[in-house]
Symmetry: C2
Subunit: 335 residues, 2 copies
DNA sequence: AACTTTTATGTACGCGCGTACATTTTCGCA
DNA sequence: TGCGAAAATGTACGCGCGTACATAAAAGTT
């Protein structure tokens, strides 16, 4: 390669990396030789010399077991991350984490498999806190997506779920519903706390009362919503409830199906709003009103915030982004 | 590290890789030192020395634009691949391909970013054929998932889609439907040809006639099914058709929704069966009968076939797997 | 024309591991 | 006890790049 171009390996390296002053004629000769030989530098050797892998790690829970993620959430987010990473010349290293497996995030950095990483589906549990603290202590570049840890100051990209449920409640109130119950997910996700807060705020803002007993807890799965539909039916028939805001579309759909079997129709007999605006929201009868979350955009932002400084060699400043959500009104809320 | 254990770097390497004869006492000392220093070998340096990256490439079309994949398909497959890869100590390198981008698969191998790769969503078009031929010529380890190229002898893992639509047709015939139309996807996917063949076979087997005019073409998206529902309505009302087999759940759902708006209910006014048994199949009213495809298992198999030989250092033999599918009968076929 | 900058290129080395080969130690057996 | 074989470990080098430093060529400057 260097021989064919009649220059030293160092010059080849300079040309290919655009480093230092190069005579135009030399550059042309090198490029020509590279093309002639179909030369592709070894990313392995480059990485070894530069001490960086060129990979952006994406850590996520193994999907089949996980209810937090709709596959919609997951694939939109990943697409956004992938599209952005490639713009920076980074590749995506995907890491599925088994549920009970130790969270050895720091090890990935030590092994130099990744230069930065995004963590999806993090939970506020002790092992997670420790693993993140370890990353922070080592000065690693990482970002939590859709999960915040209060007080820790970690990089975060999240959606404004608080505003989402707030809008959902206002919407239902505007539609004439007044006894709105809330079906939330596990409290180990900051999303859940955010949504609860939005629900509470909205109820109080509009002179409705906030009753802790009007909050039910599922696990974000359709099945959990379906199971709770029995209790919800009683509350509706007794006049205690006339509308539900659910923390995920999947739970909302479970509720919708469960109540339908019991003769209660969303949009006619009660109001229902979900969260995520997943594909399924358009498949139910009636269609499900939902809080749309810009997953793709969140993926882009998270990757961008992490990679932009790395690419420029700058030291990155910390960030906590919260992207806006949008209520999509459909039939299930009488719309 | 070597110093702390009182041995040479070579011995450390041998212990950590389990190579060559090692005195038990030495092994213990090295392991102890490694633990004490929290030593993690650099995968970058290892890869450089071994000339292998330890990464399994997964190439897939950028999702938002793609109708072939339901997100369900995608995430199940990926989970299976991920779970299997990790068993072999491999990591997943995810590569989103922009629709009109050149398919530079071989370059990934040359750059040593990956040791083997799985290709999802391949199409039988000229650039794809060239890119695959290039891989094969270079002797790369790769596997096509859910797409075959006849005559090329490439490694493949697919589902038995032919048997799937065959079963769907038989099921509809058993239910008393007789004028069954077929809604297929683009012919650049081998899936489409397989399904068409299954449809044709089943019709002829049971003494029904095969009419090429009874095959409609969509693009696997819900919207395309929805659009074609106008024509399907006419065929049903005219008595030319009384049931539909669709090549994807998404198209089937589009049809179901379109016909419902026109007053025709699946399972009552006509029979409908989809393919993939995606999440959405359980969300429609009535629920959608569908051909279940073992995506997760396909991902496992594809990764396993590729990595098992690599891990053992053997030369891998070629493989063409076709996994069985299963018809799930639900309300849309009168079940 | 001689000297100083600036520009362009070559030389030499290291990154952290794996491994062939050399060397030393241990063991079996005469 | 001695000697050969096997086991255990050390030594030395290379993998293919990037880059600091040395050097050479070109361009100004007086």
């Amino acid at each position: 390669m260097a021989r064919l171009a009649g220059v030293s390996e160092a010059t080849v390296s300079r040309v290919l990396n655009g480093v230092g002053p190069i005579k135009e004629q030399t550059r042309a000769r090198v490029m020509e030789a590279a093309k002639a030989l179909n030369y592709v530098p070894s990313a392995l050797a480059q990485g070894f010399a530069r001490k960086r892998s060129g990979n952006l790690g994406v850590i996520l829970p193994l999907l089949p077991k996980v209810n937090l993620f709709s596959t919609h959430y997951f694939s939109e987010l990943l697409s956004g991350i992938g599209a952005t990473a490639r713009r920076y010349g980074y590749d995506l290293l995907l890491l599925f984490r088994e549920p009970d497996e130790p969270r050895e995030y720091e090890r990935l950095f030590q092994a130099q498999k990744i230069d930065a990483c995004l963590i999806l589906g993090a939970q506020d549990v002790e092992p997670e806190r420790l693993a993140l603290a370890e990353l922070a202590a080592a000065g690693r570049q990482f970002c939590l997506v859709s999960q915040r840890f209060e007080g820790a100051g970690y990089n975060t990209v999240d959606a404004d779920h608080r505003e989402g449920t707030r809008a959902a409640v206002h919407h239902l109130l505007d539609r004439g519903y007044s006894r709105i119950w809330f079906l939330n997910g596990p409290s180990s996700y900051s999303n859940s706390a955010d949504r609860l807060q939005g629900y509470q705020e909205a109820m109080l803002e509009r002179g409705a009362s906030f009753e802790p007993g009007h909050v039910l807890i599922g696990n974000y799965s359709r099945t959990s919503g379906y199971r709770l539909s029995a209790e919800i039916e009683r509350r509706i028939r007794s006049g205690e409830a006339d509308a539900i805001v659910a923390g995920s579309d999947r739970m909302a759909i479970g509720v919708l199906q469960g109540l339908k079997e019991k003769g209660l129709l969303a949009g006619r007999d009660y109001g229902l709003v979900g969260c995520d605006d997943s594909e399924g929201a358009k498949l139910t009868e009636p269609m499900l009103s939902s809080v749309a979350v810009p997953f793709y955009e969140m993926g882009c932002q998270a990757a961008d915030q992490l990679l932009a400084p790395l690419a420029k060699g700058e030291t990155s400043s910390s960030f906590q982004l919260k992207l806006p959500v949008e209520l999509i009104a459909r039939g299930s809320s009488g719309g």
